[in-house]
Symmetry: C2
Subunit: 324 residues, 2 copies
């Protein structure tokens, strides 16, 4: 069993070796730029962890891990254009540093390279990997569209919201881990349990992100605390609050979200106050914990010795406990 | 041997059956829209023709033909955003009818579906098809970047220009036909000859497009004649003119291209006049014909009865003779 630290180091080394130094430079410089910005690299590392459950030697899964990471960075690049975001991981976004056209085209070629790396994986059923990856990639686009649609909808059901984060965030983690498991020699059924683990962890992880964006410790949270409230994002907290509130309180929350204000701090405080009254943080944590339990249950179904799952279980718990 | 008309009809039928009616509608409506705009569908039909050289039954190649067509339409969609083009095939472009974000994301999902259809092809070596398709798709992005780079370069060599149109236009035709040949049962060597045919036809076809944009019959040419001149595009005609011109004439042409004017007709007439003096149309036709001959020579290398190649040879000649 390889330690998480070793997996991270092995992935980092491989990642850094993938340099796009070919011509035209204007196409590939932004690719090197965004891939060099760092980030947690959670998706490729969890893919390798899934592989490592079934096989000691994880090198065969490295191109798949990179495929997942370059795909993830492609989505960040195009999402940043759509949101006109100035910063990514504390640095200028690609379309800000270069321009929008460069961002579109360099993103496109990254998506293609994801398939190119996937094609490099030595695995007996390459069609199966392609199938999983296609389903993931389509899901992520659909999730992004649902997310954009929600901005213009007056009401969003919690069910629709969970489906959106499932597509936008969780399927990539899930499908990546499923591919890792298969490359490691898992049966289709075993790989499906790994997928279920990734899917439920992914949903729990996004719920955690919603909670931290409002209730996180500013010193520890990477982004600005309260950002979702300022942007009037329909997060799980908002949707749950609207569900639990009486009509007067719901009207108050809707009014806060629909009225432009220059006093961001006051707005954050007022919305947080409503959230506290309605105990939506606690409600979100119950649901989050439920998804985390489902993730662990998916691992319980595997017929492997518990020690092979300890890394994964520990990481899942760590992800949920992070920086609250 | 299937007639070209039958191949076109079979492809059209298949194309129209591929409807994207799933949710979210805002993601897929633009996909149906652009795929419904028509166009010559040259790439999928030539892929099927390549298949048909080696096998009577071409149905196995239909998903690959659609993959090539949906990929081509993805590039048109994103290129139209980059050029901020208002019209495509006489209709509003996707980003004009919807918005830029929709154009980016719907284009992305089309690129993914190209791979999804490719994955549907029943072929013994799916990895080989993926490899060819990846090389094509990367080439097309590189070609588009070179094309954008040329706008900001004061000088472009004819060699660099030919390389750009090879990547931007020809490799998709070539790689598509290579996949069609392989699916039809061609050997790797035979499929390479088909690739060479497609590549040379593609380059000749783009040179023809350059010629027609300036010298075409306005009644027959689909786009506005003189458009390249108005947009100061560095076409083969311009680059050849600059190569052949003495320094005074070259300065005159550069001045015409670098000076804004409101009298488009006068500008077109003056540039055309320079082209006529320098006989660049004739020079372009010599080169174009050379590529066409190379295309035919690639077919000569195939060990099949001449009748199996007649459709392809005829279409190539027709493409060059179109509407001058």
């Amino acid at each position: 069993m390889v330690t998480v630290k070793s997996l991270q180091a092995r992935y980092s080394e491989y990642h850094q070796q993938q340099q796009f130094n070919q011509e035209p430079q204007h196409l590939y410089a932004p690719v090197n730029y965004i891939l060099g910005l760092g980030g947690k690299r959670l998706r490729p590392v969890m893919l390798l962890m899934a592989c490592n459950i079934f096989r000691e030697e994880i090198d065969a899964a490295l191109p798949a891990a990179f495929a997942v990471e370059i795909f993830h960075n492609f989505t960040l690049l195009h999402d940043d254009i759509m949101d006109d975001a100035p910063l990514r991981r504390g640095h200028q976004t690609v379309h800000t540093l270069y321009d929008v056209n460069t961002g579109i085209l360099s993103g496109d070629v990254m998506l293609i390279y994801a398939y190119q790396y996937l094609g490099q994986v030595a695995y007996a059923q390459p069609q199966r990997l392609l199938e999983i990856f296609n389903a993931v990639a389509i899901g992520v686009c659909e999730g992004q569209q649902f997310d954009m649609d929600f901005e213009n909808q007056s009401t969003v059901s919690i069910e629709a919201y969970i489906n959106m984060i499932r597509l936008k965030t969780a399927v990539l983690l899930a499908g990546g881990m499923q591919m890792g498991a298969l490359i490691g020699g898992a049966s289709a059924t075993e790989a499906q349990h790994i997928y279920d683990f990734g899917l439920n962890v992914g949903i729990a992880f996004q719920l955690q992100d919603d909670i931290l964006d409002t209730f996180g410790d500013p010193a520890k949270f990477g982004k600005k605390v309260g950002g979702d409230i300022v942007q009037n994002k329909k997060t799980y907290l908002v949707l749950k609050a609207l569900e639990l509130a009486d009509s007067a309180t719901a009207a108050e929350l809707n009014s806060l979200m629909n009225t432009p204000t220059t006093d961001e701090a006051a707005k954050i405080a007022m919305v947080k106050n409503l959230f506290n009254q309605l105990q939506v943080r606690e409600a979100a944590e119950v649901v989050q914990n439920d998804y985390l339990q489902r993730a662990h249950a998916a691992l319980d179904a595997l017929n492997v010795t518990p020690d092979r799952l300890s890394n994964l279980r520990q990481l899942a718990d760590q992800l949920m406990g992070r920086e609250v």
